[in-house]
């Protein structure tokens, strides 16, 4: 993961570890991975909001909650897989999966996921 690679620049920065972590992430992560990461953060926040709404306000209609929440979780899983497969650092682990192939898998999986979500949303 990028964090492990950031150790040398963090020393150079010489400030708090979190800040240096952030700086190193900004510097060493490619734009694509950043796009993926921001998408993941969005999905996580959306899922948290729905979960809180379900717990605190109402879980009725429950099928709508399941659909909304599952779309966040499912999309998160798919996106995380995509991130793992297109990350150059993992090139050795996914020798036979090209980034294009990984993206095609991701897109197809997402479309199927959304199909089920809207069916279930009510």
């Amino acid at each position: 993961m990028p964090a492990t690679k950031t150790a040398p620049p963090a020393k150079k920065a010489g400030s708090s570890p979190l800040l240096s972590l952030w700086k190193a992430y900004n510097e060493t992560t490619s734009t694509r991975l950043k796009t993926i990461d921001s998408f993941l953060v969005f999905l996580m926040l959306s899922g948290i909001v729905q979960f809180l709404y379900c717990i605190l306000i109402t879980n009725f209609p429950f099928n709508a909650f399941l659909a909304g929440f599952a779309s966040c979780v499912g999309q998160f899983v798919l996106t995380a897989s995509l991130r793992a497969q297109v990350n150059p650092a993992n090139r050795n682990e996914f020798k036979e999966v090209s980034p294009e192939r990984a993206f095609a898998d991701f897109a197809l999986g997402s479309i199927v996921l959304h199909f089920f979500v809207y069916n279930f949303l009510g």
Binding site: S46, Q50, Y53, P61, G68, F69, F103, V117, L121, G122
Partner: protein, 445 residues
């Protein structure tokens, strides 16, 4: 339907002029004991014939004319004026008289202080008779008739007996009423009256003794009935009269006080009108049920539907010999039942719509096979019962409410995920070339 009824109504009323005024038929069989002279009851029988009844007389021991021929009832009503007959022909034994009731024939039976088969039949109608030979006696009011011939004031505000009848002459046997709810007393004994040995007051000691034991075993007081009606569950009516003489010409013509005629004639008219199903006869013409604001009858209902139940009720009008819409029932109830009544609500008359009773209610949140039940049983009135079955189902798969406001966060979540996915794909594909070049550049280095 309503139109048809209004059209048919005058026609049928015209044709029915020739018929009797009873709602069940005009043929009457009179079982008259040979000891009773028909001439002595000419006013009573004459009044019946004037109303349009066809009277057939027969001795209780005769075998013809048959009451039931080929299992079909030949008469609509049977009058049994045989208070002293000990043996009856096979088809009019007391037990077979009961079977007439189940064929919806009406009975008017006269008792006497003597022990006859009818005495034992009376107990099957929850009437408890005093021992044989103990007629009703009253020494009040002071009068010049024997103590067994008593003027009795007919009941006031009674829905079978008309108001303001003069006192009626009575002599005969009183009946103590059992707890049968189908009994309806039509004439109660005066409070001072009691049942005792007729000839002398020799039984007075026993009476005083019984009175001291707080009336135990004592036939006395106004709780005794002299004329009692009985209505079976199939709405056949049987009336027990304590003494046949109250219908005789002698009692009808006998003056209660100077210049005041006795009420016997009017009382006999009211009693026969009730017994022969002229008065207090109701029927349910039809019942309907439908979803509120719809006119087509509902086949099935969904839980929590608003449903309107409507009943049309008529009362028999003896004046025209036909049924007339009746809106005066104010205590009828409707039950919506699945084993237990889930809903029990009043079924009030609808103003401005004669004979129509309607109620709207919400079907319970419970599916199953339900029944609309109307069960109206009041003393002296025809029992009204109606049952219609209807299934209540849960909503269809597409019958549930959709796009609820409570679910908007979930909808927003799902839609934003899709939108974000599309945006992400667009960014990814847009960024592809640049990355590719960069990568190529890096590889080239």
């Amino acid at each position: 339907m309503r139109f048809l009824r209004t059209l048919l109504f005058p026609l049928l009323a015209l044709t029915s002029f020739a018929l009797a005024r009873s709602s069940t038929g005009d043929s009457v069989l009179v079982l008259l004991d040979p000891s009773l002279k028909k001439e002595n009851y000419s006013i009573f029988f004459g009044d019946l014939e004037k109303k349009g009844y066809k009277l057939t007389f027969r001795s209780p021991k005769d075998t013809t004319p048959e009451i039931i021929k080929d299992d079909v009832a030949q008469f609509a009503h049977v009058v049994v004026f045989a208070p002293e007959t000990k043996t009856f022909a096979a088809d009019v034994t007391p037990q077979s008289l009961v079977s007439l009731l189940s064929k919806n024939m009406n009975l008017l039976l006269a008792l006497s202080p003597k022990q006859t088969p009818l005495t034992s039949l009376a107990s099957e109608f929850s009437l408890i008779l005093p021992p044989p030979g103990t007629p009703l006696i009253s020494h009040f009011p002071k009068r010049d008739t024997p103590a067994t011939l008593i003027p009795v004031q007919p009941p006031r505000a009674h829905h079978v007996i008309s108001d303001n009848l003069a006192p009626v002459w009575f002599s005969g046997v009183p009946q103590s009423l059992g707890h049968n709810p189908m009994l309806i007393p039509l004439l109660n004994a005066p409070p001072q009256a009691f049942a005792s040995d007729a000839d002398s007051d020799s039984g007075a000691d026993a009476l005083v003794e019984a009175a001291e034991k707080s009336g135990e075993g004592l036939w006395a007081g106004s709780s005794l009935s002299l004329v009692t009606g009985f209505q079976t569950l199939s709405n056949a009516r049987a009336t027990w009269v304590g003494g046949v003489e109250m219908f005789s010409d002698e009692y009808i013509n006998k003056e209660i006080s100077k210049g005041v005629k006795s009420g016997n004639r009017d009382f006999a008219r009211d009693v026969t009108a009730w017994t022969f199903q002229e008065s207090n006869v109701l029927r349910i013409d039809s019942v309907e049920h439908n979803l509120v604001n719809e006119t087509l009858p509902g086949e099935t209902y969904t839980i929590n539907d608003q449903v309107t139940f409507t009943a049309f009720i008529s009362k028999y009008d003896p004046e025209i010999g036909w049924w007339r819409a009746y809106s005066d029932i104010d205590d009828m109830q409707l039950e919506f039942t699945m084993l237990d009544p889930h809903i029990r609500t009043s079924l009030p008359p609808v103003e401005g719509e004669p004979g129509m009773y309607a109620v709207t209610f919400r079907v319970p949140d419970r599916h199953g096979v339900f029944k609309f039940n109307v069960d109206y049983k009041r003393k002296g009135w025809t029992y009204l019962t109606s049952t219609s079955m209807v299934p209540v189902v849960p909503p269809q798969h597409d019958g549930y409410p959709r796009f609820l406001s409570a679910a908007w966060p979930y909808y927003a979540g799902a839609f934003s995920t899709s939108a974000a996915f599309i945006l992400f794909v667009a960014l990814w594909l847009a960024g592809d070339d640049r990355e590719l070049k960069k990568n190529k550049g890096a590889k080239a280095e």
